[in-house]
Symmetry: C2
Subunit: 89 residues, 2 copies
């Protein structure tokens, strides 16, 4: 699966439940895995979105992997997170 | 290694660099692994602290594992993160 085909939800400043709903929609549309990505202060929201989508919106989906890294944006180092959710059933 | 012997840095509302320095001190005092834990909005700070400690304060230490979960605190669900850093050399 190349980069273009991945299902990615980018988390920003909206409430976490909005992103959780977007994640759930991806799985309901047939995705087997969804990446949730965020930078900086949105990292907390990304974790909330993952947990809400798993605990409230979906069954048979769980966190498969979490990666943290640093990206350089406009000469500043910004932390980022990538949460991979996959079907378990 | 039981729970009492683990090296854990709990991240709150202070600047990330303070926690990064605390993490670095643990390794400099001989720890082979350090857990960074945070809840809610402090999750972003925990990721910053991990990245700063690895990229700026330490050599031969990397992220071994990241776990996210939900804790119930005073009847509210709160997201949490646990970042495990270990020596690689």
């Amino acid at each position: 699966m190349n980069e273009e085909q991945q299902n990615v939800i980018y988390v920003g400043n909206k409430p976490a439940v909005k992103y959780a709903a977007a994640v759930a929609a991806e799985f309901e549309n047939g995705a087997n895995e969804v990446f949730i990505k965020a930078r900086g202060r949105a990292i907390s929201t990304a974790v909330d979105a993952a947990q809400i989508s798993i605990n409230r919106f979906l069954t048979g989906v769980d966190v498969k992997n979490v990666e943290i890294s640093t990206e350089e944006i406009e000469n500043r180092n910004v932390s980022s997170i990538q949460i991979l959710l996959t079907k378990t059933e």
